[in-house]
Amino acid sequence: DTEVTQTPKHLVMGMTNKKSLKCEQHMGHRAMYWYKQKAKKPPELMFVYSYEKLSINESVPSRFSPECPNSSLLNLHLHALQPEDSALYLCASTSGPPSSEAFFGQGTRLTVV
């Protein structure tokens, strides 16, 4: 199994809603990532979990809250988002550090209304 699975594929939420994005991998990878990608732009790193501990937080607003319940799962809890937070949210995993490549999920297309 070389897949990273993200759910849901699409999400529309209001600015007062609370929702969660989920990511799962069963490759035994010990590092997992959240990226945000706007249209026609490269992915921007948000968070890195290494061995289930948050190792990198790229100054992401507190309305985004990551969680790593175990080595296979990664969540991103969303609360009080803004319309400019609408984007494709990508999860990735690597075997590292040091890592040879990142495996990406298909992403969750988030629209904030």
Partner: protein, 114 residues
């Protein structure tokens, strides 16, 4: 820290013509190099990677890239493109020893014209 530059934001090319997508990187340490492809509304898929050894690496669908340490480049080439190659292409680096962070270039949009 590492950084990646993709000079060409858009590359239109006719079907069956050759193409080169340019990537240059900057790093004070040894790096791994990658090309990822992204089709519309999908995640990123690894196209090919350079870790060590032969500086010329190939993918299963006809792409190749050559690591040039002196020019700090990792350009992507294909001798004959297909319509299905139309996509966004991202070059990326990660540090050899400590890499659990990927730095992406700004992307090149390849459009294959029939």
């Amino acid at each position: 820290a590492q950084s990646v530059t993709q000079l060409d934001s858009q590359v239109p090319v006719f079907e069956e013509a050759p193409v080169e997508l340019r990537c240059n990187y900057s790093s004070s340490v040894s790096v791994y190099l990658f090309w990822y492809v992204q089709y519309p509304n999908q995640g990123l898929q690894l196209l090919l990677k350079y870790l060590s050894g032969s500086t010329l690496v190939e993918s299963i669908n006809g792409f190749e890239a050559e690591f040039n340490k002196s020019q700090t480049s990792f350009h992507l080439r294909k001798p004959s493109v297909h319509i299905s190659d139309t996509a966004e292409y991202f070059c990326a680096v990660s540090a050899l020893r400590t890499g659990n962070q990927f730095y992406f270039g700004t992307g090149t949009s390849l459009t294959v014209i029939p």
